[in-house]
């Protein structure tokens, strides 16, 4: 129950004493909140859960099949080769790792900024982050070709007496992503502990109670427990805040520190971070809008939440749009022949111009509808824009990676890249894996932080009701 410095009543009222939209609608009681959220875990899953879960499971199986097929047959089953050595694999890696950014932003930065609306979405967003990072991790590991040698990425002393190249951003990537994953797991788990204890206490004795009890680490909800918990949570929030910015900055260094025209750009780190948050929020909404409807959580994840996230999408989408236009401007204004040629081929004469226009429409044009309040409040519009953004962010990475590699300095080295069915199925498979993990999360863990949501109720304020005395 992280209480900010502002009291709940102050937060409820606007600066002029205008009542703010409450974070939990319909004056729900604490008991209702517990019952509703724990009910998701305790009751039978709705039919729709199975309807979604079984295809996801099948797609996750497809992922496993594709990877086994890749390893057993050889790397040639993927379409990437010189000059486009990165292809879909790295496109997908950057796509997924970008999606993983919303979780930490919501859980850490919004926490430090005392944005109380985060409480009902942070748990699911963090879970989504973890699953997205897992999906992301698959690609570079298998892209190294001999994936059983992927441990060479870690600085482990070995009989080959070789050591990592610490000057390479690809190595920084390994550290950035693994740190991000570990910190996100710890942060997520720490937040889960009180709620696991709640479920443990509600379970009938048995294996389920034992398991929830084990992971609840003996939480009793005492005053001292909460004090330590909140301090730990605050410290972890502070620790993960820089990660929100660092991970995708480092990913962008993979490109920016090279000397390839179209990649060698100082604008990349902020542009990538904004893009990651943009894509991440779109994915949070993509998952949460259906989830709230399926489980009847509309009073906890309200229109206000959707509205706030839509605004963030609008902001970061506009930053991304600014970056796209600035890239084009610098390509023209900078006067570098190779740079201007690279962008000329990217938007006009190259083989992948369609991808560029898809990207531009999805990422820059489509979110602009969020300037209108009615659009932010129409869930169908929001879902449509989020789907556009999900696709657009993939197109963005494809445009950056493939169009650039396919056309570098020397026309003799140009090439054309087309993904094979194995690459396409692998990517599809990661969506299955991602959804499967998320559905299992909905099934077994409290989707909303019960303890924290109670903290934003008006009656949690120690001065609640003072006026009446």
């Amino acid at each position: 129950m992280p209480n900010g410095t502002t009291t709940a009543d102050e937060a409820m009222k606007g600066p002029q004493g205008v009542a703010r939209e409450p974070l939990v609608l319909n004056n729900r009681s604490m008991n209702w909140i517990t019952e509703r959220i724990c009910g998701v875990v305790e009751n039978r899953q709705p039919l729709l859960w199975w309807v979604l879960f079984l295809p996801s499971l099948a797609l996750a199986g497809l992922l496993a099949f594709c990877l086994v097929y890749l390893v057993s047959t050889g790397v040639g089953v993927w379409g990437n080769n010189q000059p486009v050595a990165w292809g879909w694999a790295i496109t997908n890696f950057v796509f997924w790792i970008g999606i993983g950014h919303a979780g930490t932003l919501i859980s850490a930065i919004l926490f430090l900024m005392r944005q109380r609306w985060r409480t009902s979405i942070n748990r699911a967003a963090e879970a989504m982050t973890l699953f997205a990072v897992m999906c992301a991790g698959i690609f570079p590991v298998f892209h190294v070709g001999r994936f059983w040698m992927a441990w060479f990425l870690a600085p482990i002393p070995n009989a080959n007496a070789i050591w990592q190249n610490f000057k390479s951003p690809l190595l920084w990537d390994v550290f950035a992503v693994s740190t991000y994953f570990i910190v996100s797991v710890i942060f997520w788990y720490l937040g889960l502990v009180p709620d696991l204890a709640t479920i443990r206490d509600r379970c009938k004795p048995g294996i389920k109670k034992l398991l929830y009890g084990m992971f609840a680490l003996g939480w009793r909800g005492g005053n001292r427990h909460w004090r330590h918990y909140e301090m730990g949570y605050l410290l972890l929030a502070a620790l993960s805040t820089p990660l929100v910015l660092s991970v995708h900055s480092v990913v962008s260094f993979d490109f920016a520190t090279s000397v390839v025209p179209g990649w060698h750009t100082t604008i990349f780190p902020p542009y990538f971070v904004a893009g990651a948050i943009f894509g991440g929020f779109a994915m949070v909404l993509t998952l949460m809008i259906p989830a709230r409807a399926i489980y009847g959580l509309q009073d906890l994840i309200t229109h206000k939440h959707v509205d706030n996230m839509a605004k963030i999408i609008l902001l970061t989408g506009s930053i991304v749009g600014y970056a796209y236009i600035m890239e084009l401007f610098i390509a023209w204004y900078g006067g570098n022949k190779f740079e201007s040629d690279a962008f000329h081929m990217r938007i006009l004469s190259g083989p992948y111009t369609t991808y560029y226009y898809c990207m531009f429409f999805c990422n820059v044009i489509s979110p602009q509808i969020f300037w209108f309040r009615w659009a932010r409040h129409n869930l169908w519009v929001v879902m449509a824009v989020c789907m556009c953004v999900n696709a657009g962010m993939w197109f963005e990475r494809f445009v950056i990676i493939v169009t650039t590699l396919a056309r570098d300095f020397v026309p003799g080295a140009w090439g054309f890249y087309k993904a094979t069915w194995v690459e396409k199925s692998t990517f599809l498979g990661t969506f299955g894996f991602f959804l499967m993990c998320f559905l299992l999360f909905l099934r077994f863990l409290p989707v909303i932080a019960v303890g924290e949501v109670k903290g934003v109720l008006p009656e949690s304020n120690p001065h609640h009701g003072d006026d009446e005395h």
Partner: protein, 253 residues
């Protein structure tokens, strides 16, 4: 709600964590010992189709390595002798020794003897024997005291780290070219004057200058003081400009 975890379970996570750490360390140590070439390769001693005894041929009879491994100076690959090479002597010597039966059989049928390869670099390693020999790396450095082996075995790890040990500090292993095939050579046996005259000659340097510079660097007073590997290798490395590749492309093309 009753407490369904007994009291001893309070420390269980800590104990488990401790066990995991110990187990992890044990696995790491075991991997480092049992899963590296120092263990997996050294000592490999397959039985060969012919019980050829290197110690008899080299130490007792004084055969040079190149009598059988005849292309080792010119070729990247060091060849295994043909049956005809054996027959140069064994058509007469020890002709009726039953140990030679496979050799006679090979001679009659024309089917080569299937020697079992002991030292086998991976296919992505491009090792060149002639280059190493031309720069004064003795056979013995990589293959051990073959002259004393009754049956040849893998004496050195041949791991990449082991290769790099020498590539990063070749002076610890170089010797004069004429001694490359002398598996019993020791730096103390080297005659200083001969060594310096020969090295200066081969490198086109002045004998006096080379000797003077070395005297300062390695600090010897008299010419008949025994030489050390540090001196021999150091002088040879400088004089011949030995700088073995340390980058990937040196051995993996």
């Amino acid at each position: 709600m009753g407490n369904f975890f007994p009291r001893w379970s309070n420390l269980l996570p800590l104990k488990l964590a401790f066990c995991l750490v110990v187990l992890g360390l044990a696995v790491a140590c075991a991997m480092a010992y049992y899963f590296t070439p120092k263990y997996t390769r050294v000592g490999y001693m397959p039985s060969q189709p012919v019980a050829f005894d290197h110690s008899i041929h080299v130490t007792q009879l004084g055969l040079d390595c190149r009598y059988c491994h005849s292309f080792v100076e010119e070729s990247p690959h060091s060849n295994v002798p043909t049956t005809q090479t054996c027959y140069n002597c064994h058509s007469v010597v020890q002709k009726d020794n039953p140990k030679l039966a496979p050799v006679h059989e090979s001679m009659e049928t024309g089917e080569p003897i299937h020697w079992v390869q002991i030292h086998q670099p991976p296919d992505y390693v491009f090792f060149n024997h002639s280059v190493h020999i031309a720069r004064g790396v003795s056979c013995q450095r990589c293959h051990g005291q073959v002259d004393e082996m009754e049956t040849v075995y893998h004496a050195e790890p041949h791991s990449m780290g082991w290769c790099l040990n020498c590539h990063r500090a070749p002076e610890k292993h170089l010797r004069p070219q004429r001694e490359v095939f002398n598996l019993t050579w020791k730096p103390e046996d080297e005659d200083r004057e001969t060594f310096y005259r020969e090295t200066a000659d081969l490198a086109g340097l002045s004998y006096e200058e080379l000797l003077g510079a070395s005297r300062e660097k390695f600090g010897f007073e008299e010419m008949d003081e025994p030489m050390s590997q540090r001196e021999v290798g150091g002088v040879l490395k400088e004089a011949w400009g030995v700088s073995p590749p340390e980058g990937c492309a040196g051995c993996h093309r």
